[in-house]
Amino acid sequence: MEAQLTRRSATACSGLLSCSSRSSSGRLFAPSTKTVAVTSIRQKSSAARLRRALNIPPHPSFVLKDTSADRIIFNPPSSEASVFHTPFKFLPKSDPRRRQNIAELFKSQATGTEGTVATGSPSLDPARLPVVKKWAWEQKPHHVTAEQVAEIRRLRTEDPVTNSVHKLADKYNCSALFIRMCVQAPKEHKEKVKAEEDRIKARWGPIRSAARAERKRRIDMLFAGEL
């Protein structure tokens, strides 16, 4: 209510200001008398004003149109969904909740534009929402043959500097993870890379190393469900 009152006064202010600027074309500032009138806010100085300000009408979802029978008003505040509410898809075949909801499942599949049964959220067509990031399997399909895997192994073992993981991934159009699954670099190469990394890390100052450590800790906390 407080927010509503101030917004109304704010809109009034801007209206007055625009009028004055239009009337005084070319002048930068409005006359001082008008400015005083603009900044005045109607306070809740009297009991009647306070009572009127606090007299808020109920939210529309709480207004019962049909009072003939007892009803349950379900109007929870917006919050994160509980993980204890199993999505419909995750219910096992034997679960009675699946059998109860089977009619709605058919309905949602038939229309296609209806929301999901599990969440009950209406009007969101998932296909229209933007994709955040494609999964690795979607970006790179499984197409590498056994001969190519052998070649990847040979190339990476022979010259790990020229045939880096990402170069090989680009060459065979697969993910870097797949290259790493196929072959490991020779030991001396790994030690060389490690030494180079350590040399770089030794040059980090306290601020950068603390920021790195904090970032790692934040990710660990995220995976532990603490964030």
Binding site: E80, A81, V83, F84, H85, T86, P87, F88, K89, F90, L91, P92, S94, D95, S108, Q109, G112, T116, V117, A118, T119, S121, L124, P126, L129, P130, V131, V132, K133, K134, W135, W137, E138, L222, F223, A224, G225, L227
Partner: protein
Amino acid sequence: MKRLRLDRWTGQLLVARPPTSTPLRYARPGAVCARLAPRRQQSTAIATQLSTSSDGFDYDRFPPLEPLPPTATSLPSPTPDRALKSARLAALHARLSLPEKLPLQTLARTLVDSSADENPQFNNSNLAFVGQTLINYHVAEWLMVRYPRLPMAILWAAMAAYSGPAPLFQIAQSWGVKSAAAPGGEVDPGLLQFSLEGLNPSDRKFGYSRLEVERKHKFRHSISSGVIFDDDYGQLIFDGKTGVEQKEPTADENGGDQTPSHMSYGDEKTRLLAEQAHAKFVRALVGSIYAHCGRDTVRAFIKSHVMSRTLDISTLFQFKSPTRELAMLCEREDFEPPIARLLSETGRHSRTPVFVVGIFSGKDKLGEAAGPSLDAARWKAAMNALKAWYLYSPGEHVRVPSDMLVSDARPWEPAHIDIGEVISF
């Protein structure tokens, strides 16, 4: 500092009875023990002032609290017949509303740890073994039916959070069980008695101790082998010797200086010993209820004291690569592959953006989460989806197999048990 004017003290202060403790004089077995209860001189000044007896005590003025049997101080634990006279024991029996069938003598025996009395006929080891199997069986079957998809590691953690030593220690403390400073035949039988002198080698945890622990420097500690060899919480079992070798260096590091073990009070080791002793007492009490009152009573006792505690199982999870695990889950269950989609966002170019990401499999939303970056929100949403999978429950009041032990039970309907975890490490 003001001088104490003992001659001006009132009579009430002077005749106040000291708390139960054993003076060194009575530690030797002799004629004195026969007539006196444990008590202590209040101060040397009073003793000299009031001494009327040959050994410095006015026995008319300070009558003994309780006559002790002649051999009391030479015994490692109190004799069973003293249990009937202990106010603490009777209070504990009444406070827990224990059934009348459970005698006070058995209750007294549950309070004697094997580190206090090595004789298995007088300590609580055997009762504790029965109690541990009963508690763990009931908790395990209930968790298994209530959350049929929990991964093994989470199941172990939940078991430890319900019936491990730490919660049982809390339960014993909430029952108001106090422990004696040192065990002995003269202490009140209502006090928990255990020794702080170190882990008793004969007192092992129940289970197998692996040969790999001693023979190999490094070995693969897999979940499958843990199910078979380790204890009910997935922890390695050391025999007593190995356990002491592992525990003692930490205790010395914490202690710092060269204080002997019985002098150091409240360090890591003593706390561990106290926790084990309290947990063992709770288990022994459960075992004694089973021995005297039977299956149904012990089940009701475990339900009301152990399983009634609140545990948020969703906080036990720790993921390594949630998106990969979710993709493998969807592949295993023949769902459409998961896709992360942006539901809403605010302040993308600000310092504190919020992205709400949902994970969809086909048209169904599996999970949803908000995060400060697209990646964080996606990971969190995948974690929520996985938790929703793992924390599936057929209902709050599920039937467990032990429900069938009642004579007029309904026929058993098979419970849903999942095939196992998605990725096992």
